[in-house]
């Protein structure tokens, strides 16, 4: 520890720490532009000049390391003069039109020139002007305002791995540019809006619509991935508006989860909240026509339908699917309602198709280390994970680990475009995921002479690739094996999990993680929104799971925040089952034509900013949040709707007065402190390769098509490229199929007798004999299942 003085205050610092870091901790403010606590030091703006005793000149505090007994002055005449001069230089080429600038009112340059600048400038010559570039639908640029602090460039290099942004030319002529004027394509690009100290980079969807001073700030939790990033929702309102409107979302610092960053999905998805597809009044279908009605009659119709099924048939003919992004309270009430009706057909695992490990699964799927610790791993093994798109900020952590010298290994069905290098990356297709993994396990078992596993996998002969891969895993000291969405929705997900657990068991070290889909998978498990487990954690006689509910059609469905044509693993089957079902009740913030087709009652519920509740993230942390604005129109928070539905049935235990009571009841029933436990070793899998005849369809959900709110967010939709909407096929497979057309032409894809036309993209990142065609798109709405067999021809 070093001790020194800033403005007469004694301050402590670690050796090697800079003056500004120590000052920040001690609460002494030193003005700065280029310094950012999460980025490397550039020391190019000179705003942080301070006087140091016995130093000949003012010194930049952001780059100068603290040393024992030095005396620093931030407000001495020398320092003040330096600050004023720097400010004058910075303003030479900066336009002085704050009133039109979107940063006005929250601009670091504005603030510092008020605080540290001089009132007049001696500069009367012409100012420099810089052309703007269109860098995509999310970020708007006004490059003349740029003060060349290079924060954005360093963010691109160091955090996001988007080298598109750079500084060109030198000195006076320096410009920040994307070199070739292409748009910035990164899943975390929005952060440059926050870190840009001036109005050079601002948010496009928010552009010119509000001012910082009219916004009200509400702390909340991001609802799209399993990390639970902390956010601020900013709302505004005026006398003509009923309620408050969400204007933007910005990150709330939380070192443990999102640091100071936020993914673009979490940042821009709020646009969906104000979409015209919001449903604002309860709707019922009568004689094939939709009419808007009041809550009383809509709820009554919803209830009558279910009551009739219970009476005529039995409660098991009813099933419920809930979105994994619903709050824990909603999950809890959802299962309480259905279990009170008398059915165990409850599930939130809408994208899963293999449920063979359900009974053995731990309290909830998650991560055995903290999110924060991800970046400290020296070996990270990604299994079927497009982490950049699935959990962008976990991707940032992995990239950090890689930058710190860690190595990343990957096994994927299709080659993923990572922003870090992989030491070894296997692209094995759907069919070879399990065989390859079992070879790796075998190689490790052989190496460690572990009889039990050698016996278990006696028919397996590891290939050289598998031996190398095993060797790489074995070298790691701090290892994390992460399963992504491609593994979890794999037809042999159970086998993949058991093999991963086997690896960890053989190595006797390493960390395990399932990066689940949705924001609250963990909460759903804890609350008992699964067919076989109660909120108490006990296994129950299992009902139907998400897959079976559609493969064995039921009479009544209760859907909560799910759009089956996009969201589930087998949209085609789901739609068929729903269309035949006599009674379908949907609780959703949005309505679509497809929904009107299959539903009988649509009950509007609040979207993410409009509800209070809690999410449990992948590491098991419960985070509570409050609503930022009132639900749109007559919509009500989901938990209230479920509670009142319970009253219609006259069930006991449904007279919660507020959300706290729901939380209390949940807490009483389940042990709230249940922590993540690593899944137990279970070895009953047989490892037949999933090798159906024909072309296998690789399915994932594009980053901005994961849930209804994102799908209705306009600007995010504009960033989806044509390529992502196409069927991608390996060039050799294209030849075998005799598709003599180039990329960009239409092909017909047929799955289960249904056909759609999409563009063809010849892409050698896709393994042979596979077709990579994502779900969740308009093109593939209601189309066939994950990992199904498809045919491709020229239409």
């Amino acid at each position: 520890m070093i001790e020194f003085e800033i403005d007469g205050v004694k301050v402590k610092a670690e050796p090697g720490e800079t003056i500004i870091q120590a000052a920040d901790r001690a609460g002494v403010y030193i003005p700065r532009f280029c310094y950012h606590k999460k980025l490397s030091i550039a020391a190019n703006c000179r705003m942080c000049l301070v006087e140091i005793e016995k130093a000949p000149k003012p010194t930049p505090a952001c780059a100068f390391p603290a040393s024992q007994d030095m005396k620093v002055f931030t407000r001495s005449p020398v320092a003040l003069k330096a600050q004023r001069a720097v400010m004058e230089f910075l303003l030479i080429n900066h336009p002085l039109d704050c009133p039109v600038c979107d940063q006005g009112g929250e601009c670091e340059l504005q603030d510092l020139s008020m605080g540290y600048g001089e009132g007049v400038s001696q500069y009367t010559e012409r100012k420099k002007c810089v052309d703007d570039e269109d860098i995509g639908p999310l970020i708007s640029t006004y490059m003349t305002r740029c003060i060349k602090c290079t924060r954005c460039v360093r963010f691109g290099d160091e955090i996001a791995g988007m080298p598109e942004i750079g500084a060109v030319n030198r000195g006076e002529d320096t410009e920040i540019s994307t070199y070739v004027g292409k748009s910035v394509k990164s899943e975390v690009s929005g952060n440059i809006i926050d870190i840009c100290p001036v109005g050079a980079l601002t948010s496009k969807p928010y552009k010119f619509t509000a001012r910082a001073w009219e916004l009200k700030q509400h702390a909340s939790i991001a609802p799209h991935d399993c990390l639970g990033s902390n956010i601020y929702i900013h709302t505004a309102s005026n006398q003509y508006q009923k309620g408050r409107e969400v204007k933007r979302v910005v990150p709330l610092d939380n070192e443990k989860i999102n640091e100071t960053w936020l993914s673009d999905r979490d940042r821009f998805s709020y646009e969906g909240l104000n979409s015209e597809n919001r449903v604002t009044r309860p709707m019922i279908k009568q004689g094939g026509k939709w009419i808007e009605t009041d809550w009383q009659s809509a709820m009554d119709m919803a209830y009558q339908g279910f009551a009739k099924i219970v009476e005529m048939k039995n409660p098991d003919a009813i099933g419920g699917l809930i979105s994994p992004s619903a709050t824990t309270e909603e999950h809890y009430l959802f299962q309480q309602l259905l279990r009170a009706i008398g059915t165990n057909n409850i599930d939130h695992r809408i994208r899963q198709i293999d449920f063979s490990d359900s009974m053995d699964s731990p309290t909830f799927p998650g991560l055995s280390i903290n999110i924060e610790e991800l970046e400290k791993q020296d070996t990270i093994v990604l299994i079927g994970s497009n982490i950049r798109h699935e959990q962008p900020l976990a991707g940032v952590r992995v990239r950090k680990a890689w930058k710190n010298g860690g190595k990343v290994l990957a096994i994927n069905p299709v080659k993923r475009n990572y922003n870090f290098d992989t030491a070894k990356e296997m692209t094995v297709g759907i069919s070879n995921m399990v065989p390859f993994l079992s070879e790796v396990v075998k190689a490790l078992a052989d190496k460690y002479k572990n009889k039990r596993f050698i016996e278990w996998l006696k028919d397996i002969k590891p290939s050289q690739d598998a031996i190398d891969f095993a060797e790489e895993i074995d070298k790691g000291v701090e290892t994390a094996i992460l399963l992504g969405a491609d593994s979890l929705s794999h037809p042999q997900a159970g086998a993949i999990k058991s093999l991963v657990i086997a690896i960890l068991a053989i190595l006797q070290k390493g960390n395990y993680g399932e990066l689940t889909t949705g924001a609250n998978s963990a909460g759903a498990w804890l609350a008992g929104a699964v067919p076989h487990r109660l909120p108490t954690g006990e296994n129950d006689s299992a009902g139907l799971n998400a897959q079976q509910m559609f493969s064995q059609p039921l009479d009544g469905y209760l859907l909560h925040g799910v759009e089956p044509e996009f969201d589930v693993a087998n949209p085609q089957q789901a739609l068929t089952a729903l269309r035949y079902a006599p009674h379908v009740v949907v609780l959703s913030p949005f309505v679509s034509e497809t929904m009107k087709d299959y539903a009988n009652v649509i009950l509007p519920i609040g979207a993410f900013s409009e509800i209070s509740g809690s999410y449990v993230n992948v590491e098991g942390t419960t985070q509570r949040f409050r609503s930022a604005n009132a639900p749109m129109g007559e919509a009500r928070p989901g938990w209230k709707v479920l509670r009142v539905m319970g009253n219609f049935f006259e069930f006991e235990g449904f007279d919660y007065k507020d959300l706290e009571e729901v939380q209390m009841s949940f807490k009483e029933e389940s042990d709230d402190d249940r922590k993540f436990e690593r899944p137990m070793l279970y070895m009953k899998q047989d490892f037949v390769a999933h090798k159906p005849k024909g072309l296998i369809r690789i399915v994932d959900w594009p980053m901005y098509r994961v849930d209804a709110t994102t799908r209705y967010a306009k600007s995010l939709q504009k960033t989806i490229s044509d390529e992502e909407r196409s069927a991608r096929i390996h060039s050799k497979t294209v030849k075998q199929l005799k598709l003599n057309i180039p990329s960009g032409h239409m092909v017909e894809v047929i799955q289960n007798d249904e056909s759609i036309q999409v563009k063809l993209v010849i892409d050698d990142n896709v393994p042979e004999k596979h077709v990579y065609l994502p779900a969740g798109l308009e093109e593939t709405a209601g189309f066939g299942e994950v990992a199904g067999i498809v045919e491709v021809k020229i239409p």
Partner: protein, 163 residues
């Protein structure tokens, strides 16, 4: 004693009466200050804060850039602005309402405006007949601005000397 004699003399000569009549006489010849409103009007200072208006540039472009400073400064919360990028990418209001019933004609908005867009015109002749007319919309305010542009420009010029 002397006092008493003075008083006595004054009351006999009707001195006080003539003194009073003297004032009447003087005022009879003074210039009249009564103004025969509405035929006549008192002169109005160029700083008089009358009806509100939004101005345009000589080329017809509206001045307002939707910075919302006037909205923020207005002590009576009389101004409501909504803004959006216009098709040409500039920052513009889509709604600019002033509630004339709330407005206390303090002129703060005029002081705050960086582009001399919202102004209080030295003009007091305006009235409302119907409920709802108190909401001065953007169109109305711009029309008033167009109507009085000459007057506003003159007032601004005279005022500039004191700034």
């Amino acid at each position: 004693m002397i006092q008493k004699v003075k008083m006595w003399a004054k009351s006999f000569t009707l001195f006080e009466l003539f003194k009073g009549l003297g004032i009447t006489w003087r005022n009879m010849w003074r210039k009249k200050i009564t103004v025969q409103y509405p035929e006549e009007e008192t002169p109005v200072s160029f700083r008089f804060r009358g009806v509100l208006a939004l101005r345009r540039y000589p080329n017809g472009e509206e001045r307002c850039i939707a910075c919302k400073l006037c909205e923020a400064v207005c002590p009576a919360l009389a101004i409501t602005i909504e803004s959006e990028p216009r098709a040409d990418g500039t920052r513009r209001t889509t709604r600019y309402d002033i509630d004339a019933f709330k407005c206390i004609n303090c002129g703060f908005c005029e002081e705050a405006c960086p582009v001399d867009s919202i102004v209080t015109v030295p003009e007091s002749h305006y009235h409302m007949e119907e409920r709802g007319e108190n909401i001065m919309t953007k169109e109305k305010l711009l029309a008033i601005g167009d109507m009085f542009e000459e007057k506003i420009a003159k007032a601004k010029k005279l005022d500039s000397e004191y700034r």
